[in-house]
Symmetry: C2
Subunit: 140 residues, 2 copies
Amino acid sequence: MQPRVDLISLGVHSVDASRRFYVDGLGWPVQREVRGEVLFIQANHGLILSLWDTGQMQAEAATDPPTASPSITLSHNLGSAAEVDSVMAEAGSAGAAIVAAPKTQPWGGYTGYFADPDGYRWEIAFNPSWAVDGGGKVTL
Amino acid sequence: MQPRVDLISLGVHSVDASRRFYVDGLGWPVQREVRGEVLFIQANHGLILSLWDTGQMQAEAATDPPTASPSITLSHNLGSAAEVDSVMAEAGSAGAAIVAAPKTQPWGGYTGYFADPDGYRWEIAFNPSWAVDGGGKVTL
């Protein structure tokens, strides 16, 4: 199995509420949508973010895995601390809950966290050692 | 804010157990590691999968968001149903719990689900209408 993620599905309680946050609030483009059921957004190279009605998602994936309350963060990397502040403010204006205000982390980066309408955490990060070369390989 | 995911962090209870599954079991390459704390794996173009000690992750991201038990799936797309069967068997051999055996879905694809050592769900999918062009844009 190759180390590859092609689609991230977040189970959401209201696709319309997700639409208001991600599309109306953050201005992200809709790649495809089945109104009230699922909303697809083109993210990185070959990667789709899917905001999917939780009930439908559970039905397809059978039961939840046995471990409760997994801890997960989606990160969005930027080129400076000022850009982090700016995007955190933008997310707040779009209706996000601020989970952790931006600050310098012990590992040298500057990051803040917000939660989307379903509580999914996004880290907005400036990591001075993060670089992506032309072939897509990340250096940390 | 651009529609872009740069890093996916999964909070794990044992980074060594994650290593046994993803590195020893599935054969994924380690991009960088702090033993017992965090394991980084290069995934797609510009995307890193991070398996991070849950306690450390919670400490940096402050509290969990208020919504309990978010529902999330990471998907891995392949070119045929036979490849789905093969990768599901490989994941089972590596120690994954099979959450849903592969089957044809109402939307036309053929997918199975497994859970990693912390219960994170992976969908292994053949979607006949999934295509990625040279620029990385997905068609659904």
